[in-house]
């Protein structure tokens, strides 16, 4: 066979072999997959985990969702999994980017068909869910504009965007700029913190608050609210 024709034949055969190897195995091999939409999110946002399988599902089939635990280097069950309630329909499971996970989080799904008495029939490739840290944060202070001496008032702070549980440094300066109170407040899972304001001297007070930052959100600039005490 002339050299050029041989090269063409070799090339065609190589392409054909590669194509065959790329085709998923036929026959009875089940394959399942897991997709995360979106693949990354900020604190408090949702990610849909959608399993799929190369067969029609029936009522009673199950999908376990597993997450990879780095400490023990094992796959552990995440939640109670999904049970198919309507034949042919696999509803997604939602997770929330929050304190319950470390990130990046790695998931996979295990298909447990009812016909095989819930024994494992297929395991998906792992997928990764990333956490996007809020690059900028701000603190919104709620405080009275005018207050009376020797009376307690509620003051609160909300971190925006919400970055969950963390600390806010608070400083209250009185007339002449003297610091009358310095403390840290703890935010809840919604980025909210509360405290009280009570002073004995009249004058203009300045409440300063700064979000210290955590893994979900960067530290903020100092937010200021003024209170006139009579």
């Amino acid at each position: 066979m002339p050299g050029k024709s041989r090269a063409v034949v070799i090339g065609v055969v190589t392409v054909a072999v590669a194509a065959v190897l790329a085709v998923p195995a036929l026959g009875n091999d089940l394959m399942c997959a897991l997709r995360a939409t979106p693949g990354a999110g900020t604190y408090g946002s949702d990610v849909a985990l959608q399993p799929s399988v190369t067969t029609e599902t029936v009522t009673g089939d199950k999908f376990d969702i597993q997450t990879y635990e780095f400490a023990s280097q094992t796959w552990v069950k995440y939640g109670e999994g999904l049970t198919v309630e309507d034949t042919g329909t696999i509803d997604p499971q939602y997770i929330m980017i929050d304190d319950s996970m470390t990130y990046p989080a790695i998931f996979r799904t295990v298909f447990l068909p009812k016909s095989s008495k819930n024994t494992t029939a297929a395991v998906s490739d792992p997928i990764v869910v990333l956490m996007q840290r809020n690059a900028k944060s701000a603190v919104a202070i709620t405080a009275p504009k005018v207050a009376s001496r020797n009376k307690s008032y509620s003051i609160s702070a909300t971190v925006k965007p919400d970055s969950g549980i963390g600390k806010i440094a608070m400083r209250i300066k009185g007339p002449g700029g003297k610091v009358v109170r310095s403390t840290t407040l703890s935010t809840d899972e919604f980025g909210y913190a509360a405290s009280t304001f009570r002073v004995t001297k009249a004058g203009r007070y300045r409440i300063e608050m700064r979000w210290i930052g955590n893994r979900f959100g960067a530290a903020s600039a100092i937010a200021v609210a003024s209170v006139t005490v009579r």
């Binding site: 949702d46 309507d86 509803d91 899972e189």
Partner: protein, 269 residues
């Protein structure tokens, strides 16, 4: 003088063995406890087992699921020391079993604190979660679509919600299903048009539990039975628990065990 037939080396060996046995602390024989049954109780059973093992490290405890019916059968047949159930015993279950209430579970329907809706009937809840009622204006609220939030199909909380509120009909496929009570609460707290359901222990200021058919979902109402969307969770024993099983049950009903129950459910003691 008689000469001892007992060689000196053997005598030294005997003395050494006696001394060592006196000095080395005696090792308790390991015991094993097996539990099986309700998948709702199973995570609680595992938490109790983990805490119990910290007190009694030589006890090995296996906690398996399979469902409440499996718990009854396994306990009756002696395949496990303790069964677990999230329902009352039925006439079709084996006889001779002792039901020990260890926690109380109640499901509350919740909305965002900004929602104007404060009470619903069970029929309305069913209509909402089966997709028949889709807009808040149908319930006297704003003209906005209802955002449904719930738990995944394998969840014990969903199973109980389906039984107690939906007459065993499945929840609408529009329901965003989450893996935990905490995430459901967070999702409802972040969306003023959301409605969801959580175990009553998860109600806090970030969401509002709705009054259902005139009864508020308080712990007192759940424990008294006034709030009817509640049930007991049980450990099951074949006759009176004995030995290690009795010790475990006492632990579960004690302050440490009940503190564990109170994390996601209601304590019974």
């Amino acid at each position: 003088m008689l000469r001892s037939r007992f060689p000196r080396s053997a005598a030294v060996l005997v003395v050494a063995v006696v001394l060592v046995s006196l000095l080395v602390p005696s090792v308790a024989l390991a015991s094993t406890l097996k539990l099986s049954g309700s998948t709702t109780v199973q995570p609680l059973g595992q938490q109790w087992a983990n805490a119990y093992r910290k007190l009694y490290p030589s006890t090995s405890i296996v906690v398996a699921g399979g469902g409440s019916s499996v718990g009854f059968k396994d306990a009756a047949a002696g395949r496990v020391d303790i069964g677990m159930s999230s329902r009352e015993i039925k006439s079709s279950d084996p006889s001779g079993l002792k039901m020990i209430p260890v926690a109380r579970d109640a499901v509350a329907v919740c909305v965002n604190p900004a929602s104007p809706v404060k009470k619903l009937t069970q029929a309305q809840v069913k209509g909402i979660f089966t997709g028949q009622i889709t807009n808040w204006k149908q319930l006297g609220g704003p003209n906005k679509g209802i955002v449904l939030v719930g738990r995944t199909g394998s969840s014990g909380t969903y199973e109980f919600f389906k039984e107690s509120f939906l007459d065993m009909k499945r929840q609408s496929s529009r329901t965003k299903t989450y893996v935990s009570n905490g995430m459901v609460r967070s999702a409802v707290a972040r969306n003023k048009y959301a409605i969801g359901y959580v175990s009553i222990a998860f109600l806090n200021r970030s969401i509002r539990g709705l009054t259902i058919d005139g009864v508020s979902p308080t712990k007192a109402n759940a424990l008294s039975g006034t709030y009817k969307h509640a049930r007991y969770l049980f450990l099951i024993s074949k006759g009176e628990p004995a030995g290690e099983a009795a010790k475990f049950v006492n632990f579960v009903l004690g302050s440490a065990g009940q503190a564990i129950s109170a994390r996601e459910y209601l304590r019974v003691k």
